[in-house]
Symmetry: D2
Subunit: 341 residues, 4 copies
């Protein structure tokens, strides 16, 4: 189709991890692939290739002076799904170069795990299995003194991005009333997803199940602290799926330890979690080692989205699957990844 | 409304367990309540009250000779949700006496737990929590070598009664292809629920997740045995929600122990499970002590369904919420309860 | 499968109208067919065949004395979908003979037409086509001074049987708030279908679109009269799909003629409608000649449901698709058909 | 919030037509409004205001030299929903000025009308009303010799933009298999909407109902011609909702006139349609005078979307409701509006 070069510089991913053979085959039709998977592509090689490069898959640094020489470049697809400050986003926009990330590939697996964990906390599934293994199980009604039904329980979602929207779709048959706190969205969008816009305090104080899917910015670190956990209903479930930094972690653990809330946690301030971390012994906590997003199919989804949009870009059409880097928004996000891995 | 007697003989339930105050208040408007909750109502008292009794809530024995004297009786609602052979169902049918059970009250809580457990087996939620507590957790992609996505996985449902239908509704957003094996249902019903009728063997050999919701009859005990487990796909998930007796339990445990399948089990051949039962140590098994149905809200649902139908019956209208005892079908069911507790 | 006789006495239907070849083939496997399609089967023939008859398809008269001789009879399936008083329903019940009708076959085609007609009234589709044909069409916003969006409009459903439930499913994506008036149903059933129970007056005075799907009884003839139409909102849409007799027809026409409401009507007090009936000239009225139910596929659906349930009955299982005759309810229904044709 | 000027130059719309009072009130909080509704704002006034202008609502010409002076401008929202060549889109992109249109406001009303019209064509609603008015109506089955059920009929959608996606959601309960032809979209997007990507020929030859929602480009004018109509199934329904120019109109009329297909048409090559145009007499044609989009609520939706995105833009956040002008795509679109009015 194109005679141009496709520069593939995908670390920390590799092509095999993100592309099934049929997708790889589609990629190869788009141009001449130059791949560097053992190490990041050297500056010399990048500089050499850029004048003929039409697409970049990866996180290659692209300051303005490099872009000046990349006259044929039409798109950069960040397959690590994490916009770094090593690209001059403004310069790309001026030149009509798409800068994209298929970060929403992680939305479905995380949302699926989130509903599983929410039902787990509501119905005590993991805790009951643990009791059974120690001979402490209860049967029937006696086993349900602390449980609640997820069906119909008031739900709160903090952050209605791809992930929150997917979760909202997944839980639809359970007929929950869903409140959303998302200061980046207009009420109109929230209402279109059959949710009710709410302040953070209203959401926390009325929801039986609270999902946290918020990105971290310079402004919102630790915005869920002891005051906020105290607002939650006794026995409510708190699911921290993304990002650890939005939570005051010790305050959350205190709220769990005291029995005020129960929680499921997929992200931690320090990963791997230290061997002697007290979270490993806590009741009321469902532990998940940053593992809800990184599924085999999610990674293949990255490749499929990236290649499908690459095909469109080379035809002069707008991409449809990846998210665009918004220079304005990017500046608000901290250096840690925006989207779930 | 009516001047008749409402005979309330609900053991092993009690009215407080199955009726919230507003429902109890509705019941009291229907007639004069005579309640026996500390012990089953004595034969003498039953015989004395029957001529003026319009409704019975409970499992009171009703042979034909008693029914002959219950001239005003319009309905019997079995709130233990279990048709026993102590009622002459044929004689009730001849007299136009409704014999009902609100057994479907358990469908929603069991189905909700079943989807939670299915996602748990697919994504390894409980197992990952256990690993985390022993310091053996894996992060990211390394934690997902054995997991699969529930979304889109081929599903098989064995038994499409109230429970199976509710589950089918709950999983709709996950877009699974669903096969159903149910020898009591015509294909037309199965297809109306967006499922594909299948033989047992086809279902087992093609499904990634198999839910068992089958009632036990004289004919189907242990119909899921080693031959059937061998048909299942390597790594598939098997959820035994109801009835332990339809499964050859040791064969199922062998299939789990060998790593061929993973399983979630809510019902056991002997309950409570013996303290030294090896299931307590098994990997690949999610253990639930017959606790998915017996939730507080399910019991209240029994009362609400029973009273709503009682209101209709006393107005001369057909009941809408409870299941009717079908003499023909009842004879096929064994003495153990039909519906999940 | 069975050696018994299947007595087929289907007039006014014929087998070809209600059974596609594959369904007919299934029927023929169930026993020895004896068919009378040119005329109703003679009493002599019926009496002769009854002792060996296991199933009847049709409206054959079955007084108690005949049933006494039909020792092998297991079911009667009324394929005209209309319970007549020529069967001793009580005697059938005593003998465990199923009396069934596949009347819900008409629910889906009528409901589909009903949503089409509701959007037609809301958006002025037929009226705009008529204007276009006389050169009086308006374009754009000028054509929409009297229209409203069906999406989100408050809906009222009078009668939540098979038809009302199917309609409720069809309109789900339009996110209407739906009120239901149905004095034969408990609130619990109405709420399960995501509707709000309401009094007739509340429904009429708050709904923008009102669907009438009510059966006629001795008690409810003409219950929608001038008082009720006056309660409706100015410009609201009224859809009379079933039964003409529940409406005071002249009062309805007055409400349309005055411009207070707009209406779609599929059933009329006298059919065929007289040639000079003024309805033929009325604006604000969408006219349908009792044609929404009688589709080719609905008739085939009758046959498919009848045969599927016949298969179950002969296996000793309860039917799943047809409705049972309830002696209690049947007595409330007038001689005109219960279900839509 | 802002001290800047909001330049409101909305013709051919007016603020009252597109904003309800609560939305207008939100707008007024965003800055100092300068409104020109009687005539387009004069060049002199625009030039005078631009240096302090933060937002423009309208189609004001914005060549590069003007943009050079609009240092504070953050967004331009085209409330006529039609990108014209009077803006230097590239220059806007370089400066980070959002150029937006709330064109999707028309998607829901058009899609709603489209499903109404599809059911109309399938079930013969308007035609039957016309017959009734001339005394030629048929009753019951006789009225259904030419009808088909929309439920389950194979559907084809040509163009899966906002409009096609909304339609796809609306028809979901009817369980159609849906094929999509859209050369601007990757298969992945089409499949996410539960549709099957198809070539144009495959779609036309297998669908019972074909919806046309395609935008016009320099390349696709008249791409649906006599060859394509001949591919359609006999008796299939063709709905031309947008754009007349993608169809060879005489060829479409021939296909209808011959009885090969039936059609509903909301857009015409010349509007208003000439008084003596033969379409006014044609059977098999459902006529709609470019009226499905221009509803009162759609216009208010324009205002609501515009103001909600304006609020975000002034907070430095990306807009969420309007579509962005893509310079690349814009050049493909002809001067006629992209989106339905």
């Amino acid at each position: 189709m194109s005679e141009g070069i496709i520069l593939v510089d995908p670390l920390p991913r590799t092509l095999d991890l993100i592309m099934e053979p049929d997708v790889r085959a589609r990629l190869e039709k788009l141009g001449r692939l130059v791949i560097s998977e053992d190490a990041p592509m050297s500056d010399a090689e990048v500089d050499d290739l850029l004048p003929e490069t039409v697409l970049i898959f990866g996180q290659t640094a692209l300051p303005r002076e490099r872009l000046d020489r990349a006259r044929k470049l039409k798109g950069v697809i960040n397959v690590e799904t994490n916009f770094l400050p090593n690209i001059d986003y403004q310069a790309c926009q001026e030149r009509g170069i798409w800068v994209l990330t298929p970060g929403s590939a992680f939305a479905a697996p995380v949302a699926e795990a989130a509903i599983g964990m929410a039902i787990d906390l509501a119905r005590g599934i993991t805790a009951a299995d643990r009791d059974f293994r120690t001979g402490a199980e209860q049967y029937g009604l006696a086993a349900n003194t602390e449980t609640f039904r997820f069906h119909g329980a008031p739900v709160g979602i903090i952050g209605l991005g791809d992930l929150g929207k997917t979760l909202r779709d997944y839980i639809r048959p359970f007929r929950n009333k869903v409140k959303v706190f998302d200061p980046w969205l207009p009420d109109e969008i929230i209402e279109r997803h059959d949710c009710q816009p709410a302040s953070l305090d209203e959401l926390l104080s009325t929801s039986q199940v609270v999902f946290v899917f918020a990105a971290v910015t310079g402004e919102n670190q630790g915005f869920l602290g002891s005051r906020e956990f105290a607002l939650m209903k006794k026995g409510a479930a708190f699911l921290l799926m993304s990002r650890a930094a939005v939570v005051d972690f010790p305050a959350m653990l205190d709220a769990v330890r005291s029995g005020h809330i129960r929680a499921a946690v997929d992200v931690f301030p320090e990963e791997p979690v230290p061997a002697d971390d007290p979270v490993r012994k806590m009741e009321g906590l469902l532990l998940s080692a940053h593992r809800t997003g990184g599924t085999v199919d999610a990674l293949f989804s990255i490749g499929r989205m990236a290649v499908a949009d690459a095909e469109l870009i080379l035809r002069g059409l707008p991409p449809q699957l990846c998210r665009r880097a918004d220079p304005a928004l990017a500046s608000r996000l901290r250096s840690k990844p925006v989207s779930v891995t």
